[in-house]
């Protein structure tokens, strides 16, 4: 089937999509947007977090056809190569990135959290990011990065 949707503000079309493909597969393999990661493909790790019509979702749990005509924002749509978003900047500075496989999902999830709760407490951060598994860092520097980003964005 044919799938068209707006991804990071650009309208993209994928041809010959198999009906069983997830949005994650389409973004990665057909649209070349490999930022959303394929770690568990069952909604348990958050590495493929994207916005679908403004809601934070796991792209692996969206059937490709469900995204037809919808607006998708991926990690590639947050910040740019020239200028990192404050959330990305804070993660890079705080040592919140090791292997980095969870990082894109955490960037999108943090972006979503700070858009709803501009200055979250540590507990709010922990609850909001509970769906994003990180195997490397033990989370301390991730939580620190969210605080740093929040402080900069509310300043």
């Amino acid at each position: 089937m044919r799938l068209s949707c707006a991804v990071n503000g650009r309208s993209l079309v994928a041809e010959e999509v198999w009906e069983g493909e997830s949005l994650l597969y389409v973004l990665r393999e057909r649209m070349g947007l490999f930022g959303s990661k394929n770690a568990c493909e069952q909604g348990e790790c958050g590495s493929c977090s994207v916005y679908l019509d403004g809601a934070l979702v796991c792209a692996c749990l969206v059937l490709a056809g469900q995204a037809e005509g919808r607006a998708v924002v991926t990690v590639e749509g947050i910040g740019s190569a020239e200028s990192l978003h404050p959330v990305q900047q804070a993660f890079a500075e705080a040592g919140a990135v090791q292997c980095g496989f969870c990082t894109p999902g955490l960037i999108v999830a943090t972006h979503d959290l700070l858009s709803r709760v501009p200055d979250p407490t540590t507990i709010q951060i922990r609850e909001a990011l509970a769906g994003n598994i990180c195997r490397c860092t033990g989370y301390a520097k991730i939580i620190e990065a969210v605080h740093v980003a929040a402080a900069r964005m509310t300043r």
Binding site: N38, E76, I123
Partner: protein
């Protein structure tokens, strides 16, 4: 044809600075290409047919239907393995594809390449394999007594270790015994096993891969593919974590076979379920201990029997059991020891390397024993540990005298002296602070606090006579008017920060601002594996050595240039060094900018670095100078336990660790925090549950990893005591945090619940008595 790879990493910084990772920004943008992100024109997808039985004879394989399916380009079996049909890190016992017998659930039996992954999956389902199902050997105790069945030609004991130290019939005032069990932990790196194989026109292959050790993969692959080494080129792709899971081959040979057969690039990327059978796990352990001590609390002897289940193939089992036995007593002085250890073959999932490598399992046992002993002696558990702590010059049970700083007592004193976290407020109910978390299981009912301590240690680098070395090439040139250093090694950046450590060392040694670390590949010599907490030491040492060689040439060049210019007399270069992109005098005055000195000149040096040699354990006594460096850490855990429901909230972890020298303090903290999280996982939730050889929970729904609401803050006290033998005095950092963190948590749960808890992970039904 090449897939897009990460650009070389440019870093500026010196040893000891919290230099930011060069790959951090690109990773936050989602633009860092991992091994599962590779794509080239005309690429096929590989899929694997796997055994649904833990033990079965393969009667026949019929791929007729699969081959005729749409989009399918190849179906391969063991008959299509071009070279050696088996591989293995220590013992070549694992078939590339199962031949006459499948020895574990999920063993690879056949391969498919197709245009689309779904076509490959459907074709894999259509490969008809006729099995004669055999009764699997799943009890390691039974394997130890010889089976039946006999799973490998040399029997079911992969390696037996005997350590005999001092009096073998010692007497003690106080004796405590215990039996302990550790479940099978998964490394669970988030990046799946994946890679892209591209055939070349000359019958060779380029493999873009995430691995911990490019050269050992290459050597095994060349054998299996029947190709000379130079025709198998490995190029590192981005690695989504490793922790031991990427030491063995997974899809490497398979992707190469499919690519060579089809003449097309082939990508393979495991699903999470497949990943659970695609790599080895941490060995489950059964341990029986007896500790004898004087009334004053000095250890007289330790007797231990350690049995590790190695599963179907050897992987690195022989080294894991060696570690489990060498460090069986913990970092304590113990004049008499009788240790017997075995690792055996079964039809369970194969086990091998995971962070901590044998020292994690025994730490649960020896630390539980120390707490039991303290209770029997009515002594404070920290005091008992300090009284027996190893110090510089102490002799291990293997007879090796430990040199350099051995701050075991100091680490314990430091964690014990840290203030304790406050009680959780009962006025303001915050479920996230309660055992059970947001699931609303308690508002304080049944909750008791416990505190536990543990200390552990292990070897850094390879042991027992293994020729451990790393190779580095360093190239100094002038680019755009500035000196520029390129560092090239094959060292795997698995997330630990090797890429910046190499640059920091080069920046320090050559005093140059612009350092670029090139991508790792097999065009340069081996770096050894990113494991055993060894890369900063060994590859760092190689980079340092190559830089020293470059510096020597630069200074010689400077001396001759300056002498020619008449600015110094012959032999007058003493005290000159490289700093700030320039040759500077002993007093720091700039003599000559490097760029001016070098001009068009390129200085290019490659060096190998070897740490001091070790020797193999004596087969009868286990005595040897088997290890080259030791790393120590201690943990204190504070937990709240819902004693009625058996649920646990780890409130805080505190740790002290001697890192020798923190090459990058921020990265060191990251290792201490992340390593502790993996220790927490094994203590309270992570277990691959195997029944009759079958994994019952191969998914992240039922194999649980700690979340933000499970992992507490870690208070850290990082000591830099300087090892006189290592580059910059550094010690390996990565593994100690995973060793004692879990045992401290379990000790704290015991303290809160009063339950013996002899098995990890601790499950709710272990804490509450439901009998």
């Amino acid at each position: 044809m090449r897939p897009r790879l990460a650009p070389p990493s440019a870093v500026s910084g010196r040893v000891g600075q919290a230099v930011r990772r060069p790959d951090a920004a690109i990773k936050t943008r989602g633009d860092f290409p991992y091994s599962s992100d590779l794509q080239v024109e005309g690429m096929l997808w590989g899929a694997t047919v796997r055994s649904p039985h833990p033990y079965a004879r393969i009667i026949s394989i019929d791929a007729t239907e699969a081959r005729s399916m749409p989009g399918v380009h190849a179906v391969l079996t063991h008959k299509d393995v071009p070279g050696r049909k088996v591989y293995g890190l220590e013992i070549p016992d694992q078939p590339v594809l199962a031949m006459d017998v499948a020895r574990y659930w999920g063993e690879a039996v056949a391969l498919v390449a197709a245009d689309h992954p779904e076509q490959a999956r459907r074709a894999a389902h259509a490969v008809r394999v006729e099995y004669e199902v055999l009764t699997p050997l799943t009890d390691p105790e039974l394997a130890l007594t010889g089976g039946p069945p006999r799973l490998h030609p040399d029997g079911n004991i992969t390696r037996a270790i005997k350590i005999r130290r001092g009096d073998q019939e010692p007497r003690a005032d106080v004796i405590v015994t215990g039996e302990y069990e550790v479940g099978m932990q998964d490394q669970a790196p988030l990046g799946p096993e994946s890679g892209l194989a591209i055939p070349d026109a000359d019958g060779g292959v380029d493999l873009y891969i995430a691995t911990q050790w490019l050269h050992v993969d290459r050597d095994q692959l060349a054998g299996c593919l029947g190709l000379p080494h130079e025709k198998v080129r490995l190029i590192m792709a981005g690695i989504g974590g490793a922790f031991g899971a990427r030491e063995d081959l997974s899809m490497q040979a398979h992707a190469c076979m499919l690519a060579l057969r089809t003449g097309r690039p082939v990508k393979m990327s495991y699903s999470r379920a497949e990943s659970f059978v695609g790599h080895v796990h941490r060995h489950p352990a059964r341990m029986r201990y007896e500790h004898g001590a004087t009334r004053e609390g000095k250890l007289v002897y330790v007797k231990a029997r350690i049995l590790l289940d190695g599963g179907a193939y050897a992987s690195s089992s022989t080294a894991v059991i060696s570690n489990a036995c060498c460090f069986a007593v913990g970092p304590y002085e113990c004049p008499n020891a009788t240790i017997d250890g075995w690792v055996v073959y079964t039809n369970n999932p194969p086990c091998g390397a995971m962070r901590g490598f044998g020292s994690v399992q025994n730490c649960y046992a020896h630390e539980a024993q120390m707490d039991k002993l303290a209770a029997a002696l009515q002594m404070d558990p920290v005091e008992l540990r300090i009284r027996n702590a190893m110090t510089t010059g102490s002799t291990l049970i293997t007879g090796q005298a430990v040199d350099g700083p051995v701050p075991v007592a100091e680490l314990l004193r430091r964690i014990a002296a840290m203030s304790l976290p406050g009680a959780v407020s009962r006025d303001h109910l915050d479920l996230t602070q309660m055992p059970g978390g947001v699931s609303n299981t308690t508002h304080g009912e049944g909750v008791r606090r416990g505190i536990g301590y543990a200390v552990g240690f292990k070897n850094v680098g390879y042991s027992e006579g293994f020729d451990d070395y790393s190779t580095a090439r360093v190239r100094l040139s002038v680019a755009r008017g500035r000196p520029r250093v390129e560092v090239h090694t094959a060292g795997a950046e698995v997330g630990q920060g090797l890429v910046m450590v190499q640059a920091q060392i080069a920046g320090t040694e050559l005093g140059v601002h612009d350092v670029v670390v090139l991508g790792a590949d097999t065009e340069v010599g081996s770096s050894g594996s990113s494991s055993a907490s060894r890369q900063t030491y060994i590859t760092g040492g190689a980079v340092k050595a190559a830089c020293e060689a470059v510096r020597e040439r630069v200074l010689a060049l400077a001396e001759s240039e300056l002498a020619e210019l008449g600015r110094i007399g012959a032999g007058d270069s003493a005290g000159m060094r490289l700093e700030g992109d320039a040759i500077v005098a002993a007093d720091g005055d700039v003599i000559l900018p490097l760029a001016t000195l070098l001009g068009e000149e390129v200085i290019d040096e490659t060096r190998e670095f070897r740490p001091r040699r070790t020797t193999r354990l004596d087969p009868e006594t286990g005595q040897a100078n088997a290890h080259m460096q030791f790393a120590f850490a201690a943990h204190r855990a504070v937990v709240d336990v819902d004693t009625e429901l058996g649920l646990v909230k780890v409130v805080e972890l505190a740790t002290a660790q001697d890192v020798g020298k923190a090459i990058n303090p921020q990265a060191v903290e990251g290792q201490l925090e992340g390593g502790a999280a993996q220790g927490l996982g094994l203590a309270v939730m992570e277990e691959i549950q195997v029944k009759d050889g079958v994994i019952r929970n191969p998914s992240f729904t039922d194999y649980l990893l700690p979340t933000t609401l499970d992992m507490p803050p870690v208070r850290m006290d990082i000591l830099e005591l300087g090892d006189p033998n290592s580059p910059y005095g550094l010690k390996g950092v990565g593994e100690p945090p995973t060793i004692s963190s879990g045992p401290a948590i379990v000790a704290a749960i015991r303290a809160a619940s009063g339950r013996p808890l002899a098995r990890v992970p601790v499950r709710p039904h272990d804490i509450v008595d439901t009998e």
